[in-house]
């Protein structure tokens, strides 16, 4: 179906040439599911987009052989590519909130495919749209078609995006990180849907950094690193005992490992009692109680919308609880003016999910970290503690890699020697191997300084590896809590069990 030999993609960035893909060769057979695996920057997305001529205007694509559907696409003009897109191959991107036009209804987006390729006539297109939404198991398709992406849940949005990708009846579906932005239970549903599409005869090219997702769907895997394919083979053999060191690293990162030994907790650092938060007529937090002791790592899990971020904001004193109260280091932290909180603010720090938006883009690392230190103090020792060299001092946030940025965020958080650090999804935006390094770092900080961590995540694997205790939130309530091992092995609440069973695990891994 697709034959690629020695594919090279070069980007022109100003005067510099950047080689994103350096000579990859592979075939895609009709009816199979091939997975391209690798971390961000490995060239997997560029490779996949080249297959439909969408590598971008600044890209130069060269290949020894490049046939798609039996036709040589080297020297394809824009209109030749357009005939392939949507009709021969459909593309599904990561997050439907931004991959569907936010200003248009879902129905309009799907209709666009039909109109572009002259499928059906004006009168029967609404029926076709409803049928397509039904095919991807969207309930009430008629009503959903008239809604905008932001009105749909993450899962429904992703289904709608898939419906638009299959509307032209393509034989090949290219899914680029199709489940990365989704909660575990929704992720499982979307994977099932993709498996269904495959069973109905569509060929699937899956791009992912998540080996667990890949192990569920793919027949064959290509592992990419630095623009090259470092290993390829059937999924089972490859994940079972791969030869290449990089693949093994990916597998061990995906498998996870316990990082901490639970120690005797110290005195109470932060305490929340009967927290309740109401926005308008929505109650987002209901009767949440929580105690964090010195040197403890407390995990807070739940899906998006479960209220875990609001709990963090309440603890942090960013918003006042509707009722209930927060105490920090033995003092009232809620229901008091900000002036009363300010003297102890430094003792409470935050590490956000996306440090890029949490840093002033015009500040250098020296200034970002220096701000958290006493005036005139040298930021270098702190940076050394988080494993960064002096070479990053004068760089700006965007000149750092995702992992380096999160290390800077950790450095800034530990600089004032806090007693509690609230970490809100601190590793969700990172590649697995980098994720593992940041988790190691956080475990080390706790061991050295005895700092307590409140670790908020939707990723149960991360919580299992790092936390001493875990609280599971659902619909604004804490539905279960206890030591990590107890909760993971004998979940009492059905929601916790559902969450646990939805976590994709590496199938067939050694």
């Amino acid at each position: 179906m697709i034959e690629v030999e020695n594919l090279r993609v070069t980007f022109r960035l100003g005067k510099r040439q950047v080689e994103a893909v350096r000579g990859v060769s592979f075939d895609i057979e009709e009816g199979e599911c091939l997975a391209l695996v690798g971390e961000s920057g490995s060239g997997k997305s560029v490779t996949a987009r080249s297959l439909v001529g969408l590598a971008g205007p600044a890209a130069r694509v060269e290949a020894g052989t490049f046939t798609v559907d039996g036709r040589d696409v080297r020297g394809f003009a824009a209109r030749d590519w357009r005939r392939l897109r949507g009709r021969f191959a459909g593309l599904i991107l990561q997050d439907a909130l931004v991959s569907l036009d936010p200003l248009r209804t879902v129905g309009a987006e799907i209709t666009e495919v039909l109109r572009t390729h002259g499928i059906g006539d004006r009168g029967d297109r609404p029926d076709r749209v409803r049928q397509l939404l039904t095919d991807v198991h969207v309930p009430e398709p008629g009503r959903r078609a008239r809604q905008y992406p932001h009105q749909l849940s993450g899962g429904l949005r992703q289904r709608a995006l898939i419906a638009s990708a299959i509307a032209g009846g393509p034989r090949l579906l290219i899914a680029d990180e199709p489940t990365t932005a989704l909660d575990a239970t929704v992720q499982a549903q979307i994977l099932k849907l993709l498996a269904e599409r495959r069973a109905s005869g569509e060929t699937l090219l899956l791009i992912s950094h998540d080996l667990a997702v890949v192990s569920r769907l793919a027949d064959r895997v290509l592992v990419m690193k630095d623009g090259r394919i470092v290993e390829s083979g059937p999924t089972r053999t490859l994940l079972g005992g791969a030869g290449h060191a990089y693949t093994r690293e990916l597998i061990s990162a995906a498998g996870g490992r316990r990082r901490v030994t639970t120690t005797a907790p110290g005195e109470v650092v932060a305490e929340a009692t009967a927290l309740r938060k109401v926005y308008g007529d929505r109650t987002v937090v209901r009767d949440v109680g929580l105690t964090i002791r010195a040197g403890e790592i407390v995990g807070l899990v739940g899906e998006s919308g479960s209220g875990k971020t609001t709990v963090a904001q309440l603890l942090f004193g960013l918003t006042e609880p509707t009722s209930g109260r927060v105490r920090f280091e033995g003092r009232d932290f809620s229901g008091v003016p900000e002036r009363a909180r300010r003297p102890i603010r430094r003792r409470l720090q935050l590490i956000a999910q996306d440090p890029l938006s949490a840093f002033d883009p015009r500040w250098t690392v020296r200034r970002i970290v220096g701000e958290a230190l006493p005036r005139g103090a040298d930021p270098q020792p702190i940076l050394e503690r988080v494993g960064l060299g002096a070479d990053v001092l004068d760089r700006y946030p965007r000149q750092l890699s995702g992992g380096q940025r999160q290390r800077v965020a950790v450095a800034r958080a530990i600089a004032p020697r806090p007693s509690l650090i609230i970490c809100d999804e601190p590793v969700s935006a990172l590649d697995v191997s980098v994720q593992a390094q940041v988790l190691d770092l956080l475990a080390q900080i706790r061991a050295d300084d005895g700092t307590a961590l409140l670790f908020i995540s939707h990723d149960l694997g991360v919580i299992r590896d790092l936390a001493d205790r875990v609280l599971v939130m659902h619909d604004g309530r804490v539905v279960e809590q206890g030591p990590v091992r107890a909760v993971f092995e004998h979940a009492g609440h059905e929601y916790t069990r559902a969450l646990l069973s939805a976590v994709p695990t590496l199938e067939g891994a050694a």
Partner: protein, 304 residues
């Protein structure tokens, strides 16, 4: 919904009142005597002065005059012009139509030109040429553009009348003069918005459906680029008002610009006040229209 409309109307009234009051205070503080303004170049004697004071009720305290003014303005009576000795309503009524024609024509020309330029000049060279031209237009004073256009198209080629307001031909050059700087600013904002929208993942999705680049631009990108442009509506309106005063001078057109100029230089308080209140009212309408436009363009802003 009804509450929102009521709030909007209420705040509009407050704006009108504030504008009228501010203008009233400013004129009160301005040098010159009202009686002098009313006499103008006419005969001057103590009897005439006394007569004028009695006739215009100028002997009352300023606060009473102000409250009386507000009370009558609320009933739609804007008073009489000191200079022209006619009801202000008639003075403005006569001159409103030419100015509205000019402003609407200029706005339509500017907006349409900006949309076309932003969509058409996507290539590297077209974009450079267009950006340079926009910069020149934005930084050139409108009267200069007017004079250049006049000397080329009216004096040299005789395509359009030099002055006056007879027929559509006389509207072309003034509207173009007023519209070009507007097009310059809007094109830059629209192009910027398009660039950002076409970089978004949904644009990739749209291309992956087999759409032509032009369709992606028109069906997806343009609407996104309209959002920042809408926030310029207030500025656009200001540019039209300020610009029309000058343009009407350059092209010898009748209109509010002329009236305002005369009224200000002759301390014709009732006319100046009326113009200020009118501008404020129009501004309230324009801003309401902008808020509505946001809701129409971006469904995310509508409350479910």
């Amino acid at each position: 919904m009804i509450g929102a409309v009521a709030r909007r109307a209420g705040s509009g009234l407050v704006v009108l009142w504030a504008a009228a009051t501010a203008a009233y205070l400013a004129l009160l503080a301005a040098p010159g005597d009202v009686v002098d303004s009313i006499i103008g170049d006419g005969a001057d004697s103590p009897q005439i002065r006394a007569q004028i004071i009695a006739e215009w009720h100028l002997d009352r305290p300023a606060v009473v005059q102000y409250l009386d003014y507000l009370w009558r303005a609320a009933q739609g009576d804007l008073g009489r012009s000191y200079l022209l000795q006619r009801p202000v309503r008639d003075v403005i009524g006569d001159q409103l139509a030419p100015t509205v024609r000019l402003a609407v024509a200029a706005a339509v020309f500017g907006v349409v030109l900006a949309l076309i330029l932003a969509v058409v000049t996507r290539g590297r060279w077209a974009r450079r040429v267009s950006s340079t031209a926009e910069l020149v237009l934005v930084s050139t004073p409108p009267f200069l553009i007017g004079i250049v256009l006049l000397s080329v198209f009216s004096f040299r080629f005789g395509m359009f009348p030099v002055s006056g307001d007879r027929g559509w031909a006389a509207l072309v050059l003034p509207a173009v003069t007023l519209g070009l700087p507007i097009a310059g600013v809007l094109t830059q904002v629209l192009r910027d918005g398009l660039d950002r929208a076409l970089d978004e993942p949904f644009a990739v999705t749209a291309r992956a459906r087999g759409l032509t680049e032009r369709s992606v631009l028109v069906r997806h990108g343009l609407r996104h680029s309209l959002l920042p442009a809408v926030s310029l509506l207030g500025w656009l309106f200001g540019a039209l008002i300020g610009g029309s005063v000058i343009i009407e001078q350059v092209f010898g057109r009748p209109g509010l610009g002329q009236v305002t100029l005369q009224a200000v230089s002759g301390s014709d308080m009732p006319v100046v006040l009326a113009v200020v209140v009118l501008a404020a009212a129009a501004f309230v309408v324009v801003n309401t229209a902008a808020d509505l436009a946001y809701l129409i363009i971006d469904p995310r802003l509508r409350r479910s």
